[in-house]
Amino acid sequence: MRQDIIIYNNTELYRITTDEFVYAKASGNYTEIFLTHPDKDKGDMQKATLTVTLQLGKVAVLIAGQLLHSMSPIARLGNSYILNMDYVFHIKPREHQLVLRDWSGRTYFLTGLPEEPLRKLKSALVARMAREEEDVTAEGEKIE
């Protein structure tokens, strides 16, 4: 489900949707937020990345507070990343790699990630798929 996320500090504010959010990466006191590829007609690649003057932990707090009452696809992975689980394409915990793929087919390679959170991410996605299957079955039974 698409939801708005507002990320703000004392000097600026960004309003994005969960669909646009691919991942965010810590960069010291800044956070780089990678959005899905912008409209191809505009061809403006610069807009695909936002740099916010906020630490990643603070961004996580803002997102968690806003998604408190909803199905959340956004997850914190280790100290350095926040990602959209809907865009996970390939997880390789042993090789510390994660590949995300957005709706336009653009891929994002993340390397050097710690193994343990990648394993947890894998488990979370498997659990989520199982729950979705259960929901579909339950809906089917109701219709019958």
Binding site: G57, K58, A60, V61, I63, A64, G65, Q66, L67, L68, H69, S70, M71, S72, I74, A75, R76, L77, G78, N79, S80, I82, M85, P114, E116, P117, L118, K120, L121, A124, A127, R128, R131, E134, D135
Partner: protein, 107 residues
């Protein structure tokens, strides 16, 4: 938040956490991992958590849940857990003051 606290220890933590997060969003955030929640201070590079509401609990249907009892002792227990976790400093000060008053009275 769906209140099923007296029936499930984990749910109890979720409910308390929900209140704490709603009242103090800058200090703690909800994290639907096994660890239930984390603050920025104790978040390590080995941790993973879903930010926001737990999809497992979201999937629960309100009508399937037993009603929350509003008995005095069940609510008291929950309030004490809440106080102990999130307001322990004023709680300790209050208890110390009670002890001091009792000691003065007895001496």
């Amino acid at each position: 938040m769906i209140g099923v606290a007296p029936y499930n220890k984990e749910a109890d933590a979720f409910e308390i956490l929900g209140r704490a997060t709603a009242t103090r969003p800058q200090k703690s955030y909800y994290c639907a991992s096994k660890e239930s929640w984390k603050t920025e201070k104790n978040f390590s590079d080995e941790d993973f958590c879903i930010l926001g509401y737990d999809p497992i609990r979201q999937a629960l249907k309100a009508e399937d849940l037993p009603p929350v009892p509003d008995g005095f002792f069940s609510n008291l227990k929950r309030r004490l857990i809440y106080l102990g976790r999130y307001h322990y400093i004023p709680l300790i000060i209050t208890l110390l003051l009670i002890v001091i008053v009792v000691m003065i009275y007895l001496s």
